[in-house]
Amino acid sequence: MAPQTEVLLIAIVVAASCALPGVFLVLRQMSLMSDAISHSVLLGIVIGFFLTGRIDSPLLLILASATGVLTVSLVELLNRTQLVKEDAAIGIVFPALFSLAVILITRYAGNVHLDQDVVLLGEIALAPFDRVTLFGLSLPYSLVVMGTILIITLSVIGIFYKELKISTFDPGLSIALGFSPGLLHYGLMSLTSIIAVGAFDAVGAILVVALMIVPPATAYLLTDQLFSMLVVSFLVGIVSAVSGYGIAIKFDASIAGAMATMAGFCFLLTFLLAPQRGLLAIFYRRFRQKWLFAQRILLTHLANHEGEGILPKDKKNAKHVKISTAKSKSINPILPPGKSDQCHLHQLHHYLCWNVGFTYKIVNQAQKQGLVQIENQVLRLTNSGRQITAQPFIQ
């Protein structure tokens, strides 16, 4: 395989693995926990490095995952004292562990591969230089590691899909039915930690968070079912990886940075354009609803005043119309008894307290749809208009 293909493949595997547990983190409102985990795993990596003297020992992976889980437990421990809220607890725990790791690196490991830039941003482009031989094939070490992690992730979520679903949706019921949400919670946190460690090398501590949270947040806006949310999130992860890689090559920029940027771009597009929950769809619905609602008010008004005596059409009347368009309010004193101008085209806006232009637009629209008819400037409901007022208003 060409090194470029290998890098692209690693990018895809990393993004896809991150996008899956992220779905549950987002739904459990624990997105920030991924931030905490992805930073504090560094401490495990550093300690593992000191113990083994190597950067590619499996012990690093185990120790780092353990630090991830440790972070979660410490946050929960702090939170349980009820002296510290959860978000504050996260903010206290992970910088402590992360800074400890940074001090250890700068003090004792200044000259090795573990430098701060790599820690924060990762360097996926260097991945092909570090190789292992597997089944006679020479593969990049990080592709093997991340591939294994992806398989583990897929199996864990595949096997415990039902359990993860119920404990996320209704923890109370899941306890009552005998599933242990604690076990599932720590299982999910361990999985997240393992992925964070694996992805750490490739994309660094900060961008792991982007790949874990942005694809699920995008999928959340597009789907109605947990399963499709997982699939869409997975796909968004892959699309971000591929397009990010392409852009990074074209502009000679950081691959990890471009991947996270593309994930953000996918989110932005979805946020604006998602068919049901996107911003544009919401604005369109509100706009349409405003018109429908106004039309309904008009029809109801006409229905309520149906059959009331109609204004005589003479010159007095014409004058009256002019005056009331200008300022006068409510029922005109010069009306003969038993007569009303509630349904008069030029009086409507007073009674409904609408502005004149809006009133005419709504009347016009209702007339075009055959809901009202206008005779001598007086509005009347047609049969279909009357039918509509008899139904409950549903947008």
């Binding site: 739904l27 039902k162 996320t168 899941s174 306890i175 009552a176 079912q225 947990l226 499709s228 949310m229």
Partner: protein, 261 residues
């Protein structure tokens, strides 16, 4: 009534405390099988806590609960729990049918997935509460009453002996309330035991046949006609809760309580 039956729930010396504040003090409760019981009491009386403690959702400081003579852990399959509607995230990406099938997850156990049989059972349960036509609807698009029906269907599908429901009438309209009551009464007729955390004192006598009055301590429990009286209500709610009837036959409209005043 029904005293010869085995007890559906027996609670002995149950105390639950959050931090150092006791929310339930030394509760002794015996609920015979086959009754439809309301748990009433003011806000903060520990009604929800009692249900959660029975189900071991929260730890208790002392005492224990027996379900049909055994600890809850051994009797899960006999019990169905309906939490308060507000306890779950209704924006969760899932459908009505899916939520109803969750009731069967306990019977399925770990790893096994719901299949055709489970879907059929879900269909029947949804039909019983009249939400079959909503089966593919995403749950965020349901009204309060529909959400409550989904929870009920999820409880019914378990085909349990004992139903514990936390405020199933909260925020539902009169039609849904009537439908739920009819359903609960038919469960009782099938010999099941139903326990409901209830807030509306007006309807206690017409809906239920058994009642527990609770305010951190157990004030009293037993058949409505024996324990649902002015004296007990006064002891439960304090102040001037007026219940004008001494007989359970008086129509609910004449039973006036001013819990909310």
């Amino acid at each position: 009534m029904a005293t010869s039956n085995p007890l559906a729930i027996e609670v002995t010396n149950l105390t639950v405390a959050y931090q150092e504040t006791p929310v339930l003090w030394d509760i002794d409760l015996a609920v015979p099988a086959g009754v439809l019981m309301a748990i009433v009491g003011p806000n903060g009386a520990g009604k929800t806590t009692l249900i959660k403690a029975i189900l071991e959702l929260i730890p208790s400081a002392s005492g224990q609960a027996w379900i049909y003579g055994k600890p809850y852990r051994q009797q899960r399959h006999l019990v169905s729990y309906v939490p308060q509607r507000g306890e779950v995230d209704w924006d969760f990406p899932t459908t009505v049918q899916d939520v109803v099938m969750m009731g069967l997850y306990g019977q399925l156990g770990w790893i096994r997935r719901p299949g055709r049989r489970e879907k059929q059972l879900a269909r029947e349960a949804m039909n019983k509460v009249d939400i079959l036509e909503l089966k593919d609807r995403q749950i965020s698009q349901l009204s309060g009453g529909q959400q409550q029906r989904v929870f009920l269907a999820r409880a019914l599908i378990q085909n349990a002996q004992l139903y514990l429901m936390d405020e199933p009438f909260q925020g539902v309209d009169a039609t849904t309330e009537r439908a739920i009551v009819t359903l609960l009464q038919s469960l009782r007729q099938q010999g099941k035991t139903v326990i409901v955390v209830h807030h509306d004192l007006h309807t206690v006598t017409s809906y239920f046949d058994w009642v527990m009055l609770l305010n951190v301590h157990q004030i009293d429990s037993g058949p409505i006609e024996a324990v649902f009286n002015e004296d007990n209500l006064h002891r439960t709610y304090g102040g001037h809760v007026g219940i004008l009837s001494s007989s359970a036959d008086v129509p609910p409209s004449q039973v006036l309580a001013n819990e909310y005043s």
